[in-house]
Symmetry: C2
């Protein structure tokens, strides 16, 4: 499959590197191709580098791995024509680090970055997900507790969410039951708002390798 | 021990009922004593009912189990003199249900209700905690996954947090390792902000008996 990954930071490199490693065709869209020389050597023959627009056109599915503060602009550069009718897996978070750690949110409570992206690109199938996780866990969940922790997705298109669920299992090894569908894109308010909390846990736990698990009563009880 | 519980809703009744059942002396502070007739009969001889002021004066430790929108006012009625130098276990959440479910937050991101309470009552040792949980789990964590899920506390006074940790183990059966100290009262921004997300999980899971667990890599690895 051909996949576009917008954003050349740690998250974008991790996602795209994993996809290339498992034999998918992947193009990272970036403003800064020089940054990716080392990444591309490692990622090998399945990995390309292009502009945001080229990567969006290339991908049958596109990941938004740009930093939240630049996501709308990056997607505008990618172009609604290139993204139209495609699934956009939105990993972005509306984080503002200008006041130190933990970050604050530049949109929250009564709106979310996921909703803003969906409103700006109404013909794109935005599926918010993976945004609550440290990058290495996104693509290798079984490194922690044999994958027994959760990933939250949301979006307005059920078929798109189901496809994303399948792809995350197939590409990265997520277990089906570990992926919780929180509802429509409005649920991004909730999954984005846990970031300041969850990022604080790094300092509390003393390890960057952690995630949330929802523990619940068995429904048969 | 003598304990004051401010608030006669489900949370207040659950906390105070459990404390009376294990032989603590407890007084619920309420504006509406009639509401508690049935509760008091069940709670028995260790249970009293009073005003906010009487309950605050009665307690060596005080729980704030009032609804978030009325917490500051209820605490003002309780009176700073009655609360002075005491530990206040703050269970409140700044939830606004006026726009439906999930609720929005009437204070968030760059401030929190926990911080507002601490600022309003600087001589009270505010320890935020239990606010992320459904009431039955607060006082009976082992009913779910043998207690293997987390409770988050924060506050400015380390001795107060340590005492609260011990009390929650002793009174309600929380395991020591299950109680995560998130830092000073500013961390209430994080633990209050997860409520809209965590309340949405009820509908997703189809059960009200659930909680979050932080799964992390063993530090010895």
């Amino acid at each position: 499959m051909k996949i576009g990954v917008l954003g050349s930071g740690k998250v974008g490199q991790t996602i795209a590197g994993k996809l290339a490693a498992i034999g998918q065709q992947v193009m990272i869209g970036t403003r800064d191709p020089q940054k990716l020389t080392e990444w591309q050597q490692k990622a090998g023959e399945n990995a390309w580098i292009g502009s945001f627009k080229e990567a969006a056109a290339f991908g049958e599915i596109v990941f938004n791995a740009t930093s939240g503060s630049g996501s709308i602009e990056a997607l505008q550069l990618a172009g609604s024509e290139q993204l139209e009718k495609k699934i956009l897996i939105d990993l972005s978070n509306p984080l503002d680090f200008s006041q130190g750690m933990p970050p604050i949110l530049f949109v929250s409570n009564t709106d979310s970055l996921g909703e803003q992206i969906q409103r700006t690109f109404p013909d794109v199938k935005v599926v918010k997900g993976l945004n609550t996780l440290p990058a290495p866990l996104m693509v290798n969940p079984t490194q922690l507790a044999d994958g027994d922790h959760n990933l939250f997705i949301c979006g307005n298109d059920n078929d798109a969410k189901n496809e994303v669920k399948e792809r995350l299992q197939q590409w990265f090894g997520w277990k089906s039951g570990a992926i919780l569908d929180m509802g429509d894109i409005k649920a991004a308010r909730g999954t984005e708002a846990i970031l300041p909390f969850s990022m604080s846990l790094w300092g509390v736990l003393g390890t960057p390798v952690y995630n949330l698990k929802v523990v619940h009563q068995s429904l048969s009880k």
